[in-house]
């Protein structure tokens, strides 16, 4: 979860930085005479939520803590509530046990995992790759999200296909697009890109590509080389 620097409460200096940006108009160096060149913008991760969380969130987190016992502290590194949505940030070593409790405990009963969505934060050192699992409990009609991270130089996350078989293709897709290796997946191959494709297209260091287009004498550069408002 991310949040703007200005709304981060005072005293929470330990928040990790997800991304930084400089300037305002996408130009660097001397051409920028706008006076905005020194502007620095920082994207912080969202702060941990404080008790009481409200609604059913307290009870659900308590149930999970009860089930995990002494593992809860190391397993769930942060509980975030943003836009009325509960997100549990889970350490990858404990992902399987957290998922199993979420699915099996009668008070939690998240029967479905609605996929895996990767997000690449190159500046979030040591946790560049985030994987977001939206969970759905049909029994209790609730939703929450589980998020795990892994570093770029060790992109391994345990596969949850043994718990949620429907996540098979979703994990293949996240592998295909981000290069996250889901350990224990029954057949982790590319799914959208050709089998011999090089690179993982949704990563931020992978260019969009494209060619300049000429129209009525003017040349329009490809989208990823156009000026970007920061």
């Amino acid at each position: 979860m991310t949040e703007n620097s200005e709304v981060v409460p005072a005293g929470t200096e330990t928040l990790e930085v997800l991304a930084t940006g400089q300037g305002a108009f996408g130009t660097e160096g001397t051409p920028d005479v706008s006076g905005y060149g020194g502007l620095v913008r920082t994207v912080h991760a969202a702060p941990a939520a404080t008790r009481p969380y409200g609604g059913w969130y307290d009870q659900a987190v308590d149930t999970l803590a009860e089930q995990l016992g002494s593992d809860f502290g190391p397993a769930v590194s942060k509980v975030v509530i943003r836009h009325d949505q509960l997100t549990l940030e889970v350490e990858r070593e404990h992902l399987l046990s957290v998922m199993r409790h979420l699915r099996d405990h009668p008070d939690l009963r998240f029967e479905m995992c609605m996929g895996a969505s990767g997000v690449h934060w190159p500046e979030d050192t040591g946790r560049e790759l985030h994987i977001h699992y939206p969970m759905l409990s049909m029994t209790h009609n609730r939703r929450l999200s589980v998020e795990v991270t892994c570093p770029d130089d060790d992109p391994h996350v345990p596969s949850i296909v043994e718990i949620y078989p429907g996540n098979n293709w979703h994990e293949r897709e996240t592998y295909d697009f981000f290069g996250v290796i889901f350990d224990g997946h029954p057949g982790l191959t590319r799914i959208e890109m050709p089998d011999d494709w090089v690179g993982h297209p949704q990563r931020k260091d992978y260019p969009l590509g494209g060619i300049p287009v000429e129209y009525k004498g003017a040349t329009i550069p490809p989208p990823d080389t156009r000026r970007e408002y920061k």
Partner: protein, 445 residues
């Protein structure tokens, strides 16, 4: 050298050795050579698609056969991957609508609405969307659900040989698309629903057109129903075919008509309402047969329920704005038709070019730079014709999406092809796939 060693390699079945033995690639006309060869194991793998009229688009099915029985089925996808999610990261939030509408191209209004609900959640303006905009969104979604289900009937019917169902389905769908064209300007790929509301208001005669359309559909949909519901050929092709029970649906994350064909009335419009669905009167049809026939009946009934919702929308249409009041988000210009085609309204051009420098700057900034969305992430799900359409929107506080991921129901539901078709006949694979109603544009994105 003697003549008898000369042979034409073009007529020879290609073969190569693998760890599991010799593999032949047979493409027709060369079957005799393989059949006569000694010591060949009886494993036949048939590649069906991606270019095949009955695979519902560019779906590739890899079937292992024992006679007519499918022993293993796998689906290969990716033939329609266009990198929409990647492209989104290089456009403004508003331009994103133009991309997402092309994902599941039979349900464009749903893609747009789901995306906009996600962006609006991050902007924190969910409560500020004008009533009229929300009612029109619901109305267009339900019209779109009808047109999408009609394509299911048409293509599904065609794939099973019911060609009249195809002509009926596409004929009725065209009437729905006529209305969508009249409202949004395009038959498909509308880009009409925008973060904050709608691109513009609906034309004055749209309610009348929709009323006429509903009258026509009420007259004609029973034709299609009568053609198939008790048709013994249709029933024998679909009953007990593509079986997937509740346990299977839960394990594979199935939603939509496939889940409802197990008797579980799970519909996000009822269970987790959005866009004010809790205030509309409609039923969630279910069947308990868990098969392709049940899904067919469900979709037939869903079209009737959608018509009920559209009627209620028509009653609720009150004059009012269709965009949020916040001028930092609302699109500044309205479209109008001039002598040289459609474009920004002359009144607006006159204002920004002749009267107000500030309005010109505002227009320029909002159109080229776009608005900023506070950093954060959200997951929003709506009930699309094929099941749960989930959108994971991530912003880094900039004018462009940092990451947008669509959890498309077709993508997820296609995983059920092996469970639905293994152990059945080859011909039933087609019926099973048709009952999932996958749209490859949504699967591959």
């Amino acid at each position: 050298m003697s003549d008898d060693v000369i042979y034409d390699t073009a007529e020879e079945a290609d073969s190569y050795d693998t760890t599991e033995g010799k593999v032949f690639t047979v493409s027709g006309g060369d079957w005799d050579q393989v059949e006569g060869d000694e010591g060949i194991a009886q494993r036949i793998v048939v590649n069906m698609g991606p270019q095949h009229p009955s695979t519902h688009g560019v779906l590739r099915l890899i079937l292992e056969l024992d006679g007519e029985t499918v022993t293993q089925a796998r689906s290969g996808i990716g033939y329609l991957h266009t990198g929409i999610e990647k492209n989104l990261e290089f456009r403004t939030w508003t331009q994103g609508v133009t991309y997402v509408t092309r994902m599941d191209y039979l349900a464009p209004i749903f893609n747009e609405t789901a995306y906009c609900l996600g962006v609006e959640k991050l902007l924190g303006i969910t409560d500020q969307i004008p009533e009229r905009a929300t009612v029109i969104r619901v109305m267009l979604m339900e019209l779109n659900r009808i047109s999408s289900h009609l394509v299911y009937l048409a293509t599904g019917g065609m794939e099973l040989g019911a060609l009249t169902a195809m002509t009926f389905g596409f004929r009725e769908r065209e009437h729905v698309l006529d209305v969508l064209e009249s409202v949004t300007g395009l038959r498909m790929n509308h880009a009409f629903i925008r973060p904050g509301g709608l691109a513009q208001d609906i034309p004055e005669d749209a309610p009348q057109q929709i009323t006429d359309l509903l009258a026509l559909l009420r007259k004609r949909l029973p034709d299609t129903a009568n053609l198939l519901v008790n048709n013994s050929i249709w029933m024998s092709r679909t009953e007990g075919v593509g079986y997937l029970d509740l346990t299977g649906c839960m394990a594979l994350g199935m939603t939509g008509p496939v889940l409802r064909s197990t008797g579980y009335p799970w519909d996000l419009r009822k269970m987790q309402p959005y866009c004010g669905y809790e205030t509309y009167e409609f039923d969630v049809p279910t069947q308990t047969s868990c098969d392709a026939y049940g899904r067919f009946l469900i979709r037939l009934e869903e079209m009737q329920q959608s018509m009920r919702i559209v009627e209620q929308c028509l009653e609720r249409l009150r004059p009012g704005p269709v965009m949020v009041e916040d001028k930092k988000i609302a699109w500044p210009a309205q479209l109008a038709i001039g002598s040289d085609g459609i474009g920004n309204s002359l009144e607006h051009i006159r204002h920004i070019m002749g009267q107000s420098m500030e309005a010109l700057i505002h227009h320029f900034k909002l159109v080229t730079e776009g608005f900023r969305v506070p950093a954060g992430q959200a997951y929003v799900a709506i009930e699309a014709p094929r099941g749960e359409l989930g959108v994971h929107v991530v912003s880094d506080g900039g004018t462009r999406p940092y990451r947008v991921h669509f959890r498309d129901p077709s993508f997820n539901n296609l995983q059920a092809v092996p469970a639905m078709s293994e152990g059945g006949q080859v011909a039933d694979v087609v019926a099973a796939v048709a009952s999932i109603d996958p749209v490859m544009g949504g699967v591959d994105r």
